[in-house]
């Protein structure tokens, strides 16, 4: 299925999590910390909150916990 990450189309397999899609798009800094440091997935199970992105306009979504849906628009602030 196709979703977009920062406006660019990305092909992802059925059942992929948003975190995988962001990685497939070649992005490592999913977001910036309060002091501007790059952050990305650490635990992969919804505990660390490091992988947050904006999904369809909704901020601070844990990308490792949300499966991709066709047409989804994902934004990172990394």
């Amino acid at each position: 299925m196709k979703i977009t990450v920062n406006g660019r189309p990305v092909d992802v397999p059925e059942g992929a999590m948003v975190s995988a899609a962001v990685s497939l798009a070649g992005i490592t800094a999913f977001r910036r910390s309060v002091t501007g440091e790059p952050r990305g997935p650490l635990c992969g199970m919804g505990i660390c909150f490091e992988c947050r992105v904006t999904v369809d306009g909704r901020a601070h979504v844990r990308s490792c916990q949300v499966p991709c849906r066709p047409g989804m628009e994902v934004r990172t602030d990394g």
Binding site: V34, R58, A59, H60
Partner: protein, 368 residues
């Protein structure tokens, strides 16, 4: 450490810190007795709203004077005090509350407080995440927010007071007795221990009034003014029933701070889910999209409430060398700086900027 101080203050919250700074500025030597972090009690729990309030003429005088002192201190406030000149919007849900908006506007015009009446359209433009159908509001321009613990720390540092890391076990006009058996002797002592003040000075009319608060993750721009429902006044007024009122505040970080709840008779620090739930549902009634934001922390704190909603500032009847500086309820951040000045003026025998009488301990208090 000295053998004796001009002033010894029990309590290193924002009120004790402001007293320390004002006394030091008057040339007095100062010690502050505080076992925990500076600004770690109600000061850290509170919202940090610097606001003019009009419950009574004495409350207007104290909040307006103190807000002016905050504005004067802006150039020297450190960045971590997060001073944010965002203004307050008193949100009116219906025409009855719009009548209150107009009453407040007239009153504020008369005392030189800059305000603006907002209709439904202007309110929606100012705060797009408020629900549709609200009647309007009153924007009070020069209200602000600060991050209180850092502001308290700044005041203590400015005062160069000696901080004694112990609990006060007793206080009298001549000394503060410490939990380790020692004591700090002083010309004047000040009980600034907030809601715990009656433990050191039994019999004073201060009660714990518990509040719940919640803070969200960072959503910059979601709220840009301090928003308070006008029904808040009814909530804050009720001295018996538990109550909640919508109060949302922007932080410099982009976080949204949410309140408020008021409870007497609940003295444990634990979060009470039914009360927190009531509070958050009230907030959602005003801002439905809050339901989509992530809350990252909730906590409670204890306001020091008095029957007439005015703090106790000044010497105790029967012990003129023991001062009280407590009972600020939900306005301690706003009124801390004026409290410090009034205490220092009284000690120095200077004429205060506003009359001290309405706040003197020993006044006849009538609940209203």
């Amino acid at each position: 450490m000295r053998a004796s101080y001009d002033v010894a203050i029990a309590g290193g919250g924002i009120v004790g810190a402001a007293c320390a700074a004002a006394c030091a500025a008057a040339g007095l030597s100062v010690a502050v007795v505080e076992p925990g972090p500076i600004g770690g009690g109600a000061t850290a729990a509170g919202m940090g709203h610097v606001v003019v309030m009009d419950d009574s003429p004495a409350q207007i005088a104290l909040t307006l004077y103190s807000r002016t002192l905050w504005i004067e201190s802006i150039p020297e406030l450190p960045a971590d005090s997060e001073y944010l000149p965002c203004g307050t919007i008193w949100v009116a849900a219906d025409e009855e509350e719009m009548a209150e908006v107009r009453r407040k506007k007239q009153l504020y015009d008369g005392i030189g407080v800059r305000t603006e009446v907002l209709g439904p359209k202007e309110l929606a433009e100012a705060e797009p995440h408020l629900r549709a159908g609200l009647a309007g509001g009153l924007l009070v321009h020069d209200d602000s927010t600060v991050y209180p613990p850092c502001a308290a720390r700044y005041l203590i540092e400015k005062s160069r007071a000696d901080v004694v890391r112990q609990s006060a076990a007793g206080i009298s006009g001549g000394a503060i007795r410490l939990s380790d058996g020692g004591s700090i002797s002083a010309g004047i002592t000040v009980n600034a221990t907030g809601a715990w003040a009656p433990e050191l000075t039994p019999g004073i009319e201060v009660r714990k009034r518990k509040g719940h608060l919640a803070i969200t993750d960072r959503y910059p721009g979601f709220v840009t003014h301090v928003l308070v429902e006008l029904g808040y006044l009814k909530s804050a007024h009720s001295t018996t029933a538990d109550s909640v009122a919508f109060n949302a505040q922007p932080r410099r970080t982009g976080q949204v701070l949410l309140g408020s709840s008021r409870q007497f008779g609940s003295e444990g620090r634990a979060i009470e889910a039914p009360m927190l739930g009531r509070m958050l549902r009230r907030c959602e009634e005003y801002m439905p999209e809050l339901a989509d934001l992530t809350t990252i922390r909730t906590w409670t704190g204890f306001r020091a409430a008095t029957p007439d909603k005015l703090p106790l500032i000044g010497p105790c009847p029967g012990d003129e060398r023991l001062y009280l500086a407590t009972g600020h309820e939900g306005l301690g951040i706003t009124t801390s700086l004026a409290t410090g000045r009034l205490v220092a003026d009284s000690i120095m025998g200077r004429t205060p900027h506003i009359p001290l009488e309405p706040y003197l301990p020993g006044r006849k208090q009538e609940a209203h």
